[in-house]
């Protein structure tokens, strides 16, 4: 699945600008093929009485996941219920969730009585909701959509999930438009980053947690996937958890002395604390002022989050030329 998505350095250089867009589409296609071939989420066919719902798309949808809420909204469908809608906003979700959406309770413990009262026609869940699936199916046909998991790259998985949800919701036209828009935005960002890319400098994508701990985004993360599509090396090549993140101490970051750093959404107060840390100050990218900041973005999301990251990254790095 990843062989056609990952490409080597030489090809990458040749693939600046519009080339990246074509490749992204290829990545999406191959991811879809792999998914159909029976990866973990292949069980995701709509269950039970939903056999007919492909013909008559569901209008009343409940989504028990925030990144999937973004995907459903970006396809032009407003769910009737979402787990903890406030958290969607707190995780910097875009598009915004209308206030009419009903709170169905905690992420992995939805309130079944509320769900039943909403009389949904489709419930969208993740593989992590599997223990609930039997009970949920008493209420409505249930669709499992996977954005992350062991051995899965989030970025291609996002494309596959978007297409799968578009199929289930009867929004394939909206999905086509979204894919085209995402391709164009990434291509635009790629063009703006041509200068930075020419330096062949790897990039650390960091999210400081507190003054002693930093989360780093790995290759399999959503941001890592976008970075790859933009033809930039991820400086963090080690392990990352299924969501694509891991916690790294500052000493571990010293391994790539030549790296550029992009921090994503630094919590208030942490920036000042980091500035006081002698170890942070000793790191070469800090000494040589190679740290750029971008605003908060959801670490997991759909194509909208991917586009937002590509834009922010291009904005942060396009002026960096040495």
């Amino acid at each position: 699945m990843t062989a056609s998505v990952r490409f080597n350095g030489k090809r990458r250089l040749a693939l600046a600008g519009l080339g990246a867009a074509a490749l992204m589409a290829a990545g999406a296609r191959s991811a879809r093929a792999a998914d159909a071939a029976g990866a973990v989420s292949a069980a995701a066919s709509i269950s039970g009485s939903a056999a007919g719902s492909a013909a008559a798309p569901a209008a009343r949808v409940v989504v028990l996941d925030w990144p999937l809420t973004e995907v459903v909204l970006s396809l032009g469908v407003v769910p009737v219920g979402v787990s903890r809608p406030a958290w969607y906003a707190k995780l910097d979700g875009v598009p915004a969730l209308p206030p009419s959406v009903v709170d169905t309770g905690l992420l992995y413990q939805p309130n079944f009585e509320v769900l039943a009262a909403l009389k949904p026609e489709l419930i969208v869940i993740t593989p992590w909701h599997a223990p609930l699936r039997g009970l949920l199916e008493r209420i409505a046909p249930t669709l499992t959509v996977q954005l992350f998991g062991p051995g899965i790259d989030v970025y291609p998985a996002v494309h596959a999930a978007t297409r799968k949800l578009a199929d289930a919701l009867g929004r394939n036209a909206a999905a086509d438009a979204l894919f085209a828009q995402a391709d164009a935005r990434v291509a635009d960002a790629s063009a703006r980053l041509a200068g930075f890319r020419a330096m062949r400098r790897p990039v650390y994508l960091l999210r400081p947690i507190d003054d002693r701990h930093i989360a780093v985004f790995g290759r399999n993360s959503l941001f890592g996937g976008v970075l790859h599509a933009l033809g930039i090396d991820n400086a963090w090549q080690d392990f990352a958890d299924p969501q694509g993140m891991t916690e790294a101490d500052l000493g571990a970051l010293a391994r790539h002395a030549d790296a550029q750093v992009v921090t994503i959404g630094v919590p208030s107060g942490v920036a000042a604390q980091l500035a006081r840390s002698p170890l942070w100050g000793a790191l070469p990218f800090v000494r040589q002022n190679r740290v750029q900041h971008i605003g908060p973005l959801p670490a997991l999301g759909g194509l909208v989050a991917s586009m937002r990251f590509a834009d922010s990254l291009a904005g942060a790095l396009q002026g960096v030329t040495q």
Binding site: V40, D103, A116, W128, Q243, P267, L279
Partner: protein
């Protein structure tokens, strides 16, 4: 005095071996991790404050070195605090965690992270210390009227611990996404990026060490019981809070600097005693030394793991990970003295059973009816009519039945454990069976890529069973001596909690899945499960009733029991097995729930039912009632979110128990 001197002499030839072994292990690990970061030739440049240091040298100077130093300091401090606690409370299971200090600090940090994130970042030390101190004062306030009696303090500490823990859980569930840094802190991470923490911690720990040294003589007198100590001219009323205050402050300093690190406070003193340090004076000297080495070794071992594990594993979790099995191994050789007589609590007058039992039964029926029919909906609070009943019964009846059954089972298990072991801190989770069940559930969730309910249930049953077998096998060696069984249970608990902590601290979906299960949720109960739990409960009640005579006789001691024709060893084994099965049955369905199992027997006794049969009956009714109420509140309190029933039970029962204790 004579006896202890004799023991020291006997142990002396072997005494140097263990510290020497630890020292060698530490030195080898230090060499291993440091040379992996920096060639030996460059070590001086990293250690000396020269300006021309290279980057790897700076990483060692500001990362590796302060981390090593803080591990030594924190380990010594925790171990020293452990010695003082165990001496003052006359309880080999007491450690810094037991008094609620860590839980209080953790709660304060959680609240700060939710309410004022900037405060939590800038003033972490102050916030954590304030929480720890508040928890300490709560414990002290509850025991003040009783003259800080040893048993009362341990009990009060447990209550504070559970209460803070429950509040933290609720905050965690509702605000999970903004608490990443708090989770890391809870895992006990020693990562440093400068010398600030060392400079902060070292003088404070040294000051506490001096204070402890000044208290050596009064501490020694705690080896006697309260009466004898008073006769020797010690004012218990003031010495005890003073010594406890020093130890609590010590653990609060460590907790605010590096987070929650368990086991060192338990393991350091135990190992020191194994080395032959029998006198308090020796223990105060050797336990910090052993503790410092233990934590440093654990931390170095974590750092030399391949990066996947090394960067994920918080050292606190790693300590318990190696500490648990080590303690299990050591247990074979530990000779624990019979429990010293703690001052007798004023036993409440006995009462006739009929009226309270009827009253509690009536309350239980009322609670069941209200729970089934009165609840929050999308349109506010409503009584459920006959028409809606067909829609909602499926969601309400099974979990109610399971809550009731689990409450009864855990209360019975707690009663049995407390009577068999004679230890007021005994509870099902201390037996390690709940931890084993959690471990099994975790394994099932990791192995199955999309875990389903039957898979999770099978996993937790297997885990509980394995733990039960281990405990019984270990117990057989010691003839089921109460303290051995409990210590083995604690070791198993610590191990399983370390694994669960590792899974949740590393984030990801397992964490979200496990965290609710970890604290008791009646959430995923299907009708078949509820029926099974109901049947188990009925069988359990019958068996426990039949075992009541043993429970009456066993606390009188093995000799009395044997004289009365009860094989003490066989009876203990059967009762422990019963308690373990009860715990496993309840845990599989609704999580460990330490509160009900610990407190329901206490409540029964405090209400005036000290005899086995009546205590079990009243405890079972209280357990069932608590769980039914908790499940109902958990469903409705912050609708549509649902809180774990075990956590609500803690919140419900805690204040009542505090009031009873203070009376």
């Amino acid at each position: 005095m004579n006896r202890s001197t004799a023991t020291v002499t006997a142990a002396a030839p072997r005494a140097w071996r263990l510290p020497a072994l630890l020292l060698m292990l530490a030195a080898w690990l230090v060499y291993h991790t440091l040379s992996a970061r920096l060639p030996v030739a460059q070590w001086p440049g990293a250690l000396l404050p020269r300006a021309d240091a290279t980057l790897p040298q700076l990483v060692v100077r500001y990362g590796w070195l302060p981390r090593f130093a803080i591990a030594l300091i924190a380990g010594a401090a925790l171990s020293l605090a452990g010695v003082v606690f165990q001496q003052v409370l006359r309880n080999p299971l007491a450690e810094p965690l037991t008094l609620g200090v860590s839980a209080g600090a953790y709660l304060a940090l959680t609240i700060a992270a939710v309410a004022a994130p900037a405060l939590a970042v800038d003033m972490r030390f102050a916030v954590a210390l304030a929480g720890a101190a508040l928890a300490m004062f709560a414990t002290m306030a509850m025991t003040w009227r009783k003259g800080f009696a040893a048993v009362s303090i341990v009990l009060a500490g447990m209550i504070v611990n559970l209460y803070c823990g429950a509040l933290s859980v609720i905050l965690t569930i509702v605000f999970e996404r903004s608490l990443t840094s708090v989770f890391i802190w809870g895992g006990g991470s020693l990562v440093q990026n400068g010398w600030a923490s060392v400079v902060w911690l070292l003088p404070r720990v040294l000051a506490c060490g001096v204070a402890t040294a000044l208290l050596v003589r009064p501490l020694t007198l705690f080896s006697l019981d309260d009466g004898s100590a008073s006769q020797l001219g010690m004012s218990l009323k003031w010495t005890r809070p003073l010594a406890l205050g020093v130890a609590v402050t010590l653990s609060a300093f460590v907790a605010s600097a590096v987070g929650v690190i368990g086991f060192i406070g338990l393991g350091g003193p135990v190992l020191a005693r194994l080395m032959g340090a029998r006198r308090v004076r020796d223990q105060l000297l050797w336990a910090p030394f052993v503790g410092a080495l233990l934590l440093a070794i654990a931390d170095q071992a974590v750092q030399s793991l391949p990066s996947v594990l090394g960067e994920l594993l918080p050292t606190g979790a790693a300590v318990a990970l190696c500490g648990g099995p080590l303690l299990l191994w050591m247990l074979r050789r530990v000779h624990i003295e019979a429990p010293r007589p703690a001052s007798a609590e004023n036993a409440p007058p006995r009462r006739a059973l009929t009226m309270p039992a009827l009253l509690l039964g009536g309350l239980l029926v009322a609670a069941v009816v209200v729970s089934l029919l009165f609840s929050t909906t999308l349109h506010g609070w409503q009584w459920t009519g006959a028409q809606q009943w067909s829609d909602v019964w499926f969601w309400r009846v099974p979990r109610l039945a399971a809550s009731l059954g689990a409450g009864v089972m855990v209360a019975l298990a707690g009663t049995i454990l407390q009577r068999v072991t004679g230890n007021p801190m005994a509870s099902p989770d201390l037996l390690g069976v709940s931890g084993g069940a959690m471990l099994g559930m975790l394994a099932a969730a990791v192995v199955a890529s999309a875990p389903s309910t039957p898979v999770l249930l099978a996993g937790s049953s297997a885990g509980a069973l394995i733990c039960l077998v281990t405990i019984v096998a270990l117990g057989r060696r010691s003839g089921f001596a109460p303290e051995h069984v409990l210590l083995a249970g604690i070791a198993l608990s610590a191990f399983s909690q370390a694994v669960v902590m590792l899974a949740t601290a590393s984030g990801g979906a397992y964490a979200n899945l496990l965290r609710p299960l970890q604290y008791g949720s009646t959430y995923l109960i299907a009708p078949a499960t509820a029926i099974a739990v109901g049947a188990c409960t009925v069988v359990a009640v019958v068996v426990a009733y039949l075992g009541a005579r043993w429970l009456e006789i066993l606390p009188l001691g093995a000799n009395v029991a044997n004289a009365l024709g009860v094989g003490a060893q066989r009876a203990r084994l059967m009762l422990l097995a019963l308690a373990a099965i009860l715990t496993a049955g309840a845990t599989v369905v609704i999580g460990p729930m330490s509160f009900v199992g610990l407190m329901a027997p206490h409540l029964a006794r405090l209400l005036g039912f000290p005899r086995a049969r009546s205590q079990m009956l009243v405890a079972a009714l209280i357990g069932g009632l608590l769980m039914v109420l908790s499940d109902w509140l958990g469903r409705n309190m912050i609708f549509p979110q649902q809180l774990p029933a075990g956590v609500i039970a803690t919140l419900l029962g805690g204040p009542y128990l505090m009031w009873l204790l203070r009376r």
